[in-house]
């Protein structure tokens, strides 16, 4: 029944949608047509019509890259370096990673800046709207099992992670770190597979999967893991990917001493269909989207068709998992012709509720405002 409902979301096309221009014939190998924010390196957003399956196929999955993508790594020559505060520094081959127990973790990956384009005043960075998010089945060894190969010291509170991508010009290298507690969590894995494959653009041969945390922690092309006593301090840890610990008036500059590292993700839902600005003839209109909640699971999604005065529960896809999104759907019958505002609001298993106004921040991270679109319904002739 639910499957049929969700299938219906994709089978009905709105009468008219906003046009999206073709980007001069640029094609991204292995990808369906994607909203193009940057050709080089590729920064690609998934259009709303692609969000009709619980598992996002690789060919529809968004891409965010800070630095030029590294040349394809030869799997036979690949080495993962384990060094720092370990008793037995070593280099591990792909075969050794494959020989460890393999685990599958369904998890939603969202770019930290997804929704940046909704913040006002405008902030610099890729102007993502709704589509820098996807849900995949990730498979690989637990990061804890990988680290144990080298014997991490108990005094190591953090692990630094580097990938094979290298700086261009004098840009900083993309190096991240995370608390050892999250690194040792049983759901944190070094993924060797994404939906059964591992495309180069998504981190071949090994990428971190940090369930419930924002995308910047999910380092691709991982080549080094370094347990450390303190958090790593490169640009992409500070000031990059930090938010004000004390909320700022919108439009004011960051106060460096008050910036904090982002850990985890807020509760959020997005309306993927219909497209904002669509026009319909009177009749039933399927409304649907996705909802996710970082380390929590989605408890409910509510939708309003009257500007937020009344809310009705949406039908949810059955998998109620921590770390992974749920699809939601409402079959809407407009009361009359004209312009209608549609809102969606998610609540998670910890009781967190999607807010009307997310906290503005100078880098435009973690947008999770109640989603809002508008459609026009035309009376039958």
């Amino acid at each position: 029944m639910l499957a049929a409902l969700f299938a219906a979301v994709t089978s009905v096309q709105p009468a008219a949608t906003q046009s999206v221009a073709a980007a001069g014939g640029v094609a991204i190998p292995g990808k369906r047509p994607m909203i193009l924010h940057n050709d080089r390196p590729e920064d690609l957003e998934s259009p709303g019509t692609y969000f009709d399956t619980w598992v996002t196929p690789v060919d529809s999955f968004f891409v965010r890259q800070h630095l030029p993508r590294p040349a394809r790594i030869d799997p036979a020559a690949y080495k993962l370096k384990l060094n720092g505060m370990v008793s037995n520094p070593k280099e591990v081959s792909l075969a050794e990673l494959q020989a460890l127990p393999q685990f599958t973790v369904p998890a939603t990956l969202e770019c930290t800046g997804n929704g940046r384009g909704f913040y006002l005043p405008k902030v610099p960075g890729i102007q993502w709207k709704r589509g820098a998010v996807g849900n995949a089945e990730w498979q690989g060894p637990r990061l804890s099992d990988v680290l144990k190969l080298a014997g991490p010291n108990d005094a190591a509170e953090f692990v630094e992670i580097d990938g094979a991508d290298t700086p261009v010009g004098q840009t900083p290298d993309f190096v991240r770190s995370m608390p050892m507690k999250k690194a040792m969590h049983p759901a944190t894995i070094l993924a060797l597979k994404m939906n059964g494959e591992m495309p180069q653009m998504h981190g071949f041969p090994a990428r971190l999967v940090v369930p419930g945390w924002d995308g910047t922690s999910w380092v691709k092309w991982v080549t080094r893991l370094t347990p450390q006593a303190k958090e790593s301090g490169g640009f992409f840890m500070n000031p990059g990917y930090r938010i004000p610990g004390i909320p700022l008036p919108p439009g004011t500059p960051a106060r460096p001493a008050e910036l904090e590292v982002i850990e985890g993700m807020p509760v959020k839902s997005s309306i993927m269909l219909p497209e904002d600005g669509s026009k319909f003839a009177m009749g039933a209109i399927p409304v649907g989207g996705i909802a996710w909640a970082g380390e929590e699971a989605i408890e409910r999604v509510e939708v309003s068709f009257d500007g937020g005065a009344r809310w009705q529960a949406a039908a949810l896809s059955p998998q109620k998992l921590h770390f992974a999104w749920r699809l939601w759907h409402v079959d809407w019958k407009p009361e009359g012709p004209g312009y209608h505002t549609i809102l969606s609001r998610a609540t998670d298993t910890a009781g967190r509720v999607q807010p009307f106004v997310p906290a503005w921040n100078p880098s435009g991270y973690l947008w999770n405002g109640i989603d809002r679109i508008g459609v026009t319904v035309e009376a039958k002739a």
């Binding site: 046009s19 999206v20 221009a21 073709a22 980007a23 001069g24 014939g25 640029v26 094609a27 991204i28 190998p29 292995g30 990808k31 369906r32 047509p33 994607m34 909203i35 193009l36 924010h37 940057n38 050709d39 080089r40 390196p41 920064d43 690609l44 259009p47 060919d59 005043p121 405008k122 902030v123 610099p124 960075g125 890729i126 102007q127 261009v168 010009g169 004098q170 840009t171 900083p172």
Partner: protein, 101 residues
């Protein structure tokens, strides 16, 4: 006095809304030659930012190795503010072609 003020206002307004064409052309050339080594121009041109934010972005890029003569830097800022200011309509989304085999 009133006339002088009005004339001044007209002058100030026209200076504010229109950097001269030569400067804008120069700024465009700077963009097309000095930004491209690291990323595509779409990364810039898909954004709409206040002038002060564009200024900060140029400073950020200078910190990462971008260099230009001061007059080229000034022309680039004029070009970005004139074409990609936050008073301009949002960039229409563009889609890539199908890249599946």
């Amino acid at each position: 006095m009133r006339m002088k003020l009005a004339l001044f206002a007209v002058f100030a307004l026209s200076a504010a809304i229109a950097a001269d064409q030569e400067t804008l052309d120069r700024g465009k050339k700077v963009e097309q030659t000095t930004c491209l080594p690291c990323h595509s121009l779409r990364l810039i041109e898909s954004q709409r930012l206040p002038r002060a934010t564009w200024d900060k972005e140029i400073t950020k890029m200078a910190g990462w190795g971008w260099t230009a003569k001061p007059e080229d830097r000034a022309a680039l800022l004029e070009f970005l503010a004139a074409n990609y200011g936050d008073d301009k309509p949002a960039a229409p989304p563009e889609k890539s072609a199908d890249g599946r085999k």
